[in-house]
């Protein structure tokens, strides 16, 4: 006995890019949409305050059971697997990439260009900002080009950030409020931010966007069917032609009953690891290297951005804890013109408490108790502390990415991914130069504003990973086209992070959403237009 679920559009994964595709298609088109999620359903919003409190008090996960036992990989950025995906505990930081990110080969002679430009994506950035609700202020137009204002006013700079902005701008570098998917006013039925300080991992009131709000709305309106605890394990191509005929899945609650998902269009929205992983798992005699993989590039060119941070003592009195997860941002170094050697990075400033935490022993190793600890803390907190951080893009080697690890299998017997990031030779050679350039920026800021650099910390961690199914003009250079459609399979799309050619030098989620919305506009062409479409859902 097998179970079959039929739909027009089958979306694999329920994270933020899946939510973007589902919402746009559901609003604009008439199509039966099924969304399949391997993880559990998410707790309702009313449970969040209690879960948050246990996170604060004990460090417990505020999203219990948000992973699938036995289904992970060494080096993966997060095990989070539940309805809403990693965006259930994201920080809600939503800068755009800069136009240069899409043309690094043409402009600077490094890496690869995307098959689309910033201008191609710009309308979808606007749409993504409206759908998820971004509060922001436009930076200087030459640094922060955009065709429409943000849907909400910026989060106000905290007392600390006002002072830090004055300090930082003495260097001549302009800073502004980091755009964030956190409501500065009530928006789409969600409350305004009240500075609970735990945006990541959990906003107790839903002022920060998370995909569960979209799913609740779409499910409530009967626009999608969300199938949870169901692992899609293989895509199967039709006997004739190269279209995907169905997907094979296993329900974690009924693993002995085979499940087939049949649809006209399939969308893989499963992030940078599990999207290429599914394509590789879908190997068959006709496609021995997996689907969409004639180029051999599925799972390849995976990358992200590394960072250099500095902790700085600044000559102003700050009050840590006013709105700790908000920051200043500058794109001054994302948009260079000609460069003798390639270096691009963002720049952010936060309040911090570095070297200002209460402690048990003083500088002489003397044990302190009672009033001594408080006095010592106060003395060290007289001057403020700031954290500076720059993300810089890492240009990947072709071999950077995932392969199947036959020796390491999940509970259903499928090989798990093995992850190995590798810089391109050119990027590896630039690393010292890049990190030194960033140090000099930090030094410039401290020289101009006063204070002292207490520590500089380069990080080898590649944040906001992308790639694995990168887009390209044709099948020789990538896995999908500029719309996210697989070069080899006309009814198969991959959306979001895996399709990126480069990781940029700013948080990637808004770009992933914009790419998903651009794909959704193409996906929607397969279905009849819905009469009197309600627009992009941004009304509030």
């Amino acid at each position: 006995v097998r179970r079959v679920i039929e739909s027009d559009l089958c979306i694999i994964g329920s994270g933020i890019t899946a939510a973007m595709v589902a919402e746009k298609v559901a609003q604009e088109r008439t199509a039966r949409i099924v969304v399949v999620e391997a993880g559990d359903d998410v707790v309702d919003v009313g449970s969040r305050p209690a879960l948050r409190q246990r996170y604060i008090d004990y460090g417990e996960s505020p999203w219990p059971h948000d992973h699938v036992e036995g289904h992970g990989a060494d080096g993966i950025q997060s095990r989070s697997m539940l309805v809403g995906g990693q965006a259930m505990h994201w920080g809600g930081v939503t800068p755009r990439f800069s136009p240069e990110d899409f043309r690094v080969r043409s402009l600077y002679g490094v890496g690869d260009d995307w098959p689309i430009t910033y201008d191609d994506l710009e309308p979808y950035y606007v749409e993504a900002e409206r759908r998820i609700g971004v509060a922001g202020e436009a930076g200087p137009p030459e640094l922060d080009p955009r065709s429409a204002p943000y849907p909400m006013p910026a989060l106000p700079l905290s007392y600390n950030l006002v002072l830090l902005r004055a300090w930082a701008e003495k260097s001549g570098i302009p800073f502004w409020s980091q755009p964030s998917a956190k409501n500065s006013v009530d928006y789409r039925g969600r409350a305004a931010c009240c500075r609970n300080d735990t945006c990541s991992p959990i906003c107790p009131i839903g002022a920060k966007y998370s995909p569960d709000f979209t799913w609740r709305s779409l499910r409530g309106a009967g626009r999608v069917e969300l199938v949870t605890r169901t692992m899609v394990r293989k895509l199967v191509v039709a006997d004739v032609g190269a279209s995907i005929d169905h997907a094979i899945a296993t329900s974690r609650d009924d693993p002995s009953t085979p499940l087939e998902l049949r649809a006209r269009v399939f969308v893989i929205a499963a992030g940078y690891v599990w999207s290429p992983h599914l394509l590789l798992l879908s190997a068959s005699s006709r496609y021995p290297d997996g689907l969409a993989n004639r180029s051999g590039l599925v799972g390849r060119y995976m990358t992200g951005h590394r960072s250099v941070s500095a902790f700085v003592r600044v000559p102003v009195k700050l009050y840590p804890g006013i709105n700790t997860q908000h920051s200043l941002v500058s794109k001054q170094f994302m948009r260079p013109r000609a460069l003798a050697r390639y270096v691009r990075h963002d720049l952010r400033v936060w309040e911090a408490t570095f070297a200002q935490e209460p402690r048990l022993r003083d500088d002489n190793g003397r044990l302190m108790l009672g009033d001594d600890i408080l006095a010592d803390w106060r003395a060290r907190a007289e001057q403020g502390s700031a954290r500076l951080r720059a993300y810089y893009d890492v240009l990947p080697d072709r071999s950077s990415g995932i392969t199947l690890d036959a020796a390491n299998r999940n509970p259903w017997g499928d090989p798990l991914p093995r992850i190995a990031f590798r810089d391109s030779d050119a990027s590896a050679k630039l690393r010292d130069h890049t990190e030194e350039s960033i140090r000099r920026v930090f030094e410039t800021m401290v020289r101009a504003g006063g204070g002292e650099i207490l520590a500089v910390r380069p990080s080898g961690f590649q944040d906001h990973p992308v790639g694995g199914c990168r887009m390209s003009h044709d099948a020789s250079g990538g896995v999908v086209d500029g719309w996210g459609r697989a070069h080899e399979h006309e009814n198969l799309f991959v959306v979001g992070a895996p399709t990126c050619v480069t990781g940029g030098c700013a948080n990637g989620t808004l770009t992933f959403c914009a790419l998903a919305l651009r794909a959704a506009s193409e996906i929607g062409n397969a279905f009849p237009a819905r009469a009197a479409a309600p627009g992009n859902g941004a009304s509030h």
Partner: protein, 196 residues
């Protein structure tokens, strides 16, 4: 607090009874010791290690909060695993029984050395005993509360991680981790009210 794996938890749990039970009780056939710190001893400890600026009410509130926190502790709860790691870790064994035993040991030591219980001992003497109990703590930083090896360190770590301690340090009503109007964000936090 640092997370531990399941295997680490089992190792730590296996070791716990040895740490938690003073030898005299483990071998005397006496009734099982309480898993919770004695309130009077905990209060006496708090007076010795917390800042006097807290005052009587602030100290009492801190002790009550710490006791509530300890009572609500769940070992082997899944810890937050956020970004940057695929590792799933779990909270450590319940520190309560060990800490309760330590307090009783402080009390016993006080009676043997000074002829009076820890709670009745003058503050300087209490601090002397606490200092001795902390002598082997070499770290400068305060740990996560549940990772503290001693009850004194656990109490200090819990208090100094609290929004109340942050406010006290800066003598301002910052209210970290609490729900506050966004519109007030650009304002300098007001001074702490007297006695707050």
């Amino acid at each position: 607090m640092s997370g531990i794996s399941r295997r680490g938890f089992l190792r730590a749990s296996a070791a716990l009874p040895v740490i938690a039970l003073p030898a005299c009780e483990a071998t005397s056939g006496a009734p099982a010791a309480s898993a919770s710190p004695d309130p009077a001893l905990l209060r006496a400890l708090a007076e010795a290690v917390l800042p006097t600026e807290l005052g009587e009410a602030g100290t009492a509130a801190t002790v009550a909060g710490f006791a509530r926190w300890l009572a609500g502790y769940q070992p082997v709860a899944e810890r937050d695993h956020g970004y940057g790691t695929g590792e799933i870790t779990y909270t450590a064994p319940d520190p309560g029984p060990g800490w309760a035993a330590q307090l009783r040991a402080l009390d016993l030591e006080s009676r043997q050395r000074f002829g009076t219980g820890f709670a009745e001992l003058e503050l300087d003497r209490r601090r002397e005993l606490v200092r001795a109990s902390l002598a082997r703590e070499r770290a400068t930083a305060l740990p996560e509360p549940a990772d503290a090896h001693t009850v004194a360190l656990g109490l200090l770590a819990w208090f100094y991680a609290s929004p109340a301690a942050n406010d006290l340090c800066f003598r301002a009503s910052i209210g970290r981790l609490t729900c506050r109007p966004l519109a007030d964000s650009p304002e300098q936090p007001p001074p702490l009210a007297p006695g707050a």
